[in-house]
């Protein structure tokens, strides 16, 4: 190929090249414009000269394949790709601001700031996984932000897409990626488990809350392989005030076996958004690493462990949904609440990795000032939480699969819809109120949710006595 024709003022396929904004090891980034596109753009040009790392070309090809397939707020929009026959490039929207890498000098961040930050990244990752992509290079320099605060994941050179050939599959004998963040299974050549990204995000969360990388900065394969058997120091060993719920989340992300981690990024985001509901296990209290016996068993029995056959990204997500069930404690009949429980039990029985969020709306008056305490002086909010727990107890769910939420809102339907959206709920179960004066006056909550939700909605209705309808018609006659 001829010398790169990319220079300020050059026009490539209608894109007018501006200044070079970054020159990295694998690619250079140029600011470009096109008259018909009214937002800032970046052209990424791979380094393809003789003697350059062949990985630069292959990972660039991977970006060329994947970027045009992605959509939504958590990825950069793609506006064009140019192939290697002429001038290889990708043009993506330019996200303003810096990557999260710039914040490393500020570490450790406060627990609250890190929690909110990583919840946002987990939400973005959940969206990416739903688009059949595993990122494989989650680290601070792959993370940017929109002015709205939404996380944008960049750099797809090491990613793989379920519906596209994985060009990196045979290209490198050694696992390719960023050593401190790489999941242990990646070292054994596995590239098809979305939970590898959750491990990397766990490394980031650990680093951002302690200021220390859990597996150090080793770059050697030997040094990296240690994470196949050696667990990191629990954060509470480093910081005595480290919250139990946060250590529970971090160490669950950093589990050596993928199946011991969160099943999906959405479930991780859910826990980060509801720290008070995180089910604490032995992980939360740990102050020491695993015993040397445990570590040796892991290290020398690796051959005994059969690699788990991994379902693809979509199947992994589909088998681990977040199910929200709206339980109306104050007005619904016991019959309806029992029917709701039967439906929830059926869904949870078929999907062992699903989790259930029980939601109740504490209705606020439009005009009156609501008091937290009821007439008897009991806290209404706490009272509802207790009732929700009581409703769910016959389901006998493991506490890590169940959360309860009381939303205070004027409009129940909007509150439930908002909850579902913010928590990436995959399925809403709601009861249909019957013959209620309220329903006639206010319209149906379930109908509004069924028509406006972004996910599956199941409306549960206990059997109606058939005779009544017939009689009703007879009376009209």
């Amino acid at each position: 190929m001829a010398k790169s024709p990319v220079h300020p003022g050059a026009v490539i396929d209608g894109f007018i090249v501006g200044e070079c904004v970054h020159a990295g090891g694998m690619a250079t980034l140029w600011s470009v414009t096109r008259p018909d596109i009214d937002r800032p753009l970046l052209m990424k040009i791979p380094r393809v000269a003789e003697g350059e790392d062949p990985a630069a070309i292959v990972s660039f090809e991977m970006e060329q394949l994947i970027l045009p397939k992605l959509s939504g707020p958590h990825v950069p929009a793609c506006f064009g790709i140019g192939d290697f026959a002429h001038q290889a490039y990708v043009v993506i929207e330019r996200i303003s601001g810096e990557t999260l890498y710039k914040r490393l000098p500020e570490l450790p961040l406060s627990y609250e700031e890190a929690r909110a930050l990583v919840a946002g990244i987990a939400t973005a990752l959940a969206d990416l996984h739903k688009q059949h992509v595993i990122h494989h290079d989650i680290k601070p320099s792959s993370i940017m932000f929109r002015p709205s605060g939404e996380v944008v994941l960049i750099d797809y050179g090491l990613s793989c897409h379920k519906h596209l050939p994985d060009l990196l599959q045979e290209e490198f004998r050694l696992p390719y990626g960023t050593a401190p963040y790489m999941a242990p299974e990646r070292l054994t050549g596995m590239r098809n488990d979305p939970r590898s990204d959750l491990f990397s995000l766990g490394v980031l969360l650990y680093f951002f809350t302690t200021g220390v990388r859990p597996f150090g900065e080793t770059e050697t394969l030997r040094g990296m392989q240690r994470r196949l058997w050696r667990d990191p120091h629990p954060p509470r060993q480093l910081k005595a005030d480290y919250p139990l719920w946060l250590q529970e989340i971090v160490l669950r992300c950093l589990e050596i076996e993928p199946k011991a981690r969160y099943p999906t990024a959405a479930q991780l985001a859910f826990d980060l958004s509801h720290p008070d509901q995180v089910k604490l296990t032995a992980r939360a209290e740990k102050v020491n690493r695993d015993s040397i016996t445990t570590v040796w068993r892991r290290r020398f029995n690796r051959g005994m462990i059969q690699p788990e056959s991994v379902a693809d990204v979509a199947a992994q997500i589909a088998s681990s949904p977040i199910v929200a069930i709206a339980v109306d404690i104050s007005e619904a009949t016991e019959e309806l609440n029992a029917a709701l429980r039967v439906t929830a039990a059926r869904i949870l029985a078929t999907l062992p990795a699903a989790r259930l969020a029980c939601v109740n709306v504490l209705k606020l008056g439009r005009i009156t000032i609501d008091r937290t305490l009821d007439e008897q002086g009991k806290n209404k909010h706490v009272d509802r939480l207790v009732q929700l727990q009581h409703w769910a107890s016959p389901l006998k769910l493991d506490a890590s699969r169940l959360t309860v939420h009381v939303l205070e809102a004027v409009d129940p339907a909007s509150a439930i819809l908002e909850f579902a959206k913010a928590n990436q709920v995959d399925h809403i179960i709601i009861g249909a109120r019957q013959d209620s004066v309220l329903r006639t006056l206010l319209g149906s909550v379930s109908a509004k949710i069924a028509s406006e939700a972004n996910c599956t909605v199941t409306v549960v209705r206990p059997p109606r006595p058939a005779a009544r309808g017939v009689e009703g018609r007879a009376v009209i006659k």
Binding site: P54, I57, P165, E171
Partner: protein, 246 residues
Amino acid sequence: MLLALFSDIHGNRPAFAACLEAARARGAERFICLGDIVGYGADPEWSVETVMELVAQGGLAVRGNHDNAIGSPSESMNADAQAAIDWTRARLSAAHRQFLAELPMSVEDEDRLYVHSDASSPTRWRYVQSAPDAARSMIATTAQVTFCGHIHRPALYSLSATAKMTSFIPTSNAPVQLLRGRQWLVVAGSVGQPRDGDPAASFLTFDTRTREVTYCRVPYDVETAARRIRDNGLPPWLAQRLILGR
């Protein structure tokens, strides 16, 4: 231009008709047949005539081993295939037989090569069913994209500039852009006798502008195709395997 590519039709009229209709609905403008128009299925005349029409309208077709066996009884085959070929030979007219006999072994079209099996030696009808097989085929040609069939199971291989192979089982209806930086080998599934466990008929589209290949699957009336095989006294396994997709 959107190309539609059909391989291993094998005389299965309901499957071929369903694929043609689906390809036209997707806007296909040019039709390419990757060989094995006949053999196994009960409608060889209609299948050959349909391909002849497509070729007359500017389409392309290459020869498969079953097409070749019509005029070359020495072609070695298993017993079921042999029985079907002997039956088919008797059904075809002289014009049909001549059309099959004159089909080219491979055709180059811009940067694309169409061939029934391994491009390194098309007359040997070697199966391309692994990355090394695919590498042998790709090294033998300068074409950037080779389209073949013969194994009745869809696959997609690529060979990078640094001579590294990738193999991929494509997802139906998910377009893949064939980047120009590497060579590609597109193995089409079978229209008339799929063997990847999915009985639905298989064909490809390729958009010459966007360079996107799409592996398409079309459900068709398998029962009718299987019944016609049985009614014509062809080996029963040839009917049964259509239902199983094996």
